[in-house]
């Protein structure tokens, strides 16, 4: 199984052997390289997302049964794997929804835009990688799953200085924040939400991983430990 997270911060925080695939469109290329190098029985994308479903709070989880692109493309998870993961999460008592993830090329920071995306697509969350990674996995003949935790809920926006974020690391984000004192309360809320989100992922992932490993074809799953693939230097952030 290949467990990937978009940023180094997310990968380190969620643990479970997650590798960094990079944020935005480059994630797909990185995952493609990883799959070409090592092969895997499943690609699992984990990380944070913006909330579109207004019932979700920071830290709530979205288990995707479908990924949707800006152009209207759709990718669906393999039913048996999805159900295995869903059952595992349900039996472990975690708060989550089974929904879709909408993938876009930039952060969706505006509340009105989130409402419009929710009305148009009904996706639980918005991210910048899932659809591309799902397409890549599919091209390699590998099933995929995505588990995201809500960072900024549907009723909240992001700090204005994060609207152009394209995967820069923590130090770059900190530099932006320092220059804008008026946004410090928003950044503080975001930092707390990030802790909650990564804690949810870290808690949920072992159950999900165990369940999908059981559900995978034994011939594919056996002997493929989690996270043994090398990290391509070009995408490590």
């Amino acid at each position: 199984m290949l467990l990937v997270a978009p940023t180094a911060h997310e990968a380190a925080a969620i643990g479970n052997g997650a590798l960094v695939c990079g944020a935005g469109p480059r994630a797909a290329a990185a995952v493609s390289a990883m799959l070409s190098d090592g092969g895997a029985g499943l690609v699992l994308v984990a990380g944070v997302c913006g909330g579109l479903d207004p019932s979700l709070a920071p830290g709530d989880l979205v288990l995707a049964r479908r990924a949707v692109s800006v152009s209207g493309g759709e990718m669906f998870t393999q039913g048996a794997l999805f159900e295995a993961a869903r059952r595992a999460m349900r039996s472990s008592g975690l708060g989550f929804v089974s929904s879709s993830l909408f993938t876009t090329g930039r952060p969706v920071a505006d509340r009105a835009e989130k409402t419009a995306l929710w009305n148009a697509h009904g996706a639980g969350g918005v991210d910048m990688e899932t659809y591309g990674v799902a397409q890549t996995a599919d091209a390699h003949g590998v099933p995929w799953l995505a588990l995201r935790a809500v960072l900024d809920p549907a009723h909240a926006g992001l700090p204005a200085s994060l609207r152009g974020w394209q995967g820069e690391g923590d130090a770059a984000v900190l530099r932006r924040a320092v220059r804008r004192p008026l946004e410090w309360p928003s950044y503080a809320r975001l930092a707390l939400a990030m802790r909650r989100a990564t804690r949810s992922l870290r808690t949920a992932l072992p159950a999900v991983i165990a369940s999908v490993e059981d559900a995978l074809d034994p011939e594919v799953a056996s002997g493929t430990p989690i996270a043994v693939l090398p990290i391509p230097r070009s995408v490590a952030t």
Binding site: P54, S98, S99, T115, W118, N119, G122, G124
Partner: protein, 339 residues
């Protein structure tokens, strides 16, 4: 919201109690269906396709009262089927009123004039008459001539006898905004109803006519048109302002399916009033054993075109309680008698 002050206070106190006790899922309105038998076969109805033995089964008054007590919701909406077909509907209503439940007796009004003498006016009882349009549109939607005139006569008589009367209008593909505007003006200005409810039709797979249903984007457009008429200022809705915002696409909301649990002749219906995936014998089982994460807009394809008040009004009420500004907005609406 335009709901009566007494009801607004009781519902607010109930919600506050749920918040203080930390209840995660709690009902707001019990959807009570003491029978599925109806004297109409409306184009957009998905409730009357049960087999004859089920249509011939009625809940007893005792079963209805037990359901209300088990569930604990402050409001009970008696639907069906046509409740006035039930031979003991007066006893059912009396028992619920005695239990201080705010009862909405939903009816197509064909039997209303005949049934009114058996009912007693009460601040806890509202007769909610199904009205989908003025004469031509309404009679077409219920597939029988003369029903509109009967409903109007029933409303006038109910008002004369001192009953609180509201109406329930379902918006379908054939409902033109101008027709709905004219209907609302008639209901408020001519019939002087106490309040109106409005909801988009749910695309029941079993409904006789599938062409009548709107898709979600068209619903939003239609409601924007309806609610942008200047006449809107005079209309009294029994809805929160947030729900009306949601219908116009201005407010993102997720369905709160457990907010309006349904008790019918087959048991507690899972997961909601509009979808029937099975029945359980107790309310507690419904709440505890239903996989709620699977249902709602974006989660289940059957919910894609649902914006019905039985799913979203509970969300709006909770959001109103959570926001001081929205609370003030709704409170002003209640005091002014408008939404």
């Amino acid at each position: 919201m335009g709901i009566p002050l007494r009801q607004a206070i009781a519902v607010s106190a109930y919600l506050l109690k749920q918040k203080i006790t930390g209840a995660r899922r709690y009902p707001l309105v019990l959807m009570l269906e003491p029978l599925y038998r109806c004297n109409l076969a409306c184009a957009g109805c998905g409730k009357i396709q049960h087999p004859e033995p089920v249509l011939n089964t009625y809940l007893s008054p005792e079963e209805c009262w037990a359901a209300a007590e088990e569930c604990g919701a402050p409001v009970v909406s008696i639907a069906g089927g046509e409740p006035l077909v039930h031979p003991q509907i007066d006893r059912i209503v009396d028992g619920l009123v005695q239990r201080r439940k705010f009862v909405y007796l939903c009816t197509n009004a064909i039997l209303l004039e005949r049934g009114l003498p058996k009912l007693k006016p009460s601040p806890y009882l509202t007769i909610s008459v199904h009205m989908d349009g003025l004469r031509d549109l309404h009679d077409a939607m219920v597939d029988r001539a003369g029903v509109f005139d009967k409903a109007v006569a029933g409303i006038r008589e109910a008002k004369r006898l001192g009953f609180r009367v509201s109406t329930n209008t379902t918006i379908f593909a054939d409902s033109k905004p101008e027709q709905i505007r004219d209907l609302f003006n008639f209901l408020i200005d001519d019939l002087h109803v106490d309040g109106m409810m409005v909801s988009p039709g749910y695309d029941y797979p079993k409904a006789p006519n599938q062409r009548v249903f709107l898709k979600r984007p068209q619903m939003i457009e239609t409601f924007r048109s309806i609610l942008s008429f200047p006449d809107r200022r005079r209309w009294r809705f029994f809805h929160t302002p947030l729900f009306l915002d949601f219908l116009q696409g201005k407010q993102a909301m997720q369905c709160t399916a457990w907010g309006n649990p349904t008790r019918g002749v087959l048991g507690w219906q899972r997961p909601c009033y509009l979808m029937a995936e099975g029945y359980v014998p107790t309310f507690r089982q419904l709440i505890d054993e239903t996989e709620w994460d699977r249902y709602g807009y974006g989660r289940d394809a059957r919910c894609a075109n649902c914006m019905a008040h039985c799913g979203y009004e509970a969300t709006a009420v909770k959001a109103t309680m959570a926001s001081p500004l929205e609370g003030v907005r709704a409170g002003l609406g209640t005091l002014a008698g408008k939404a």
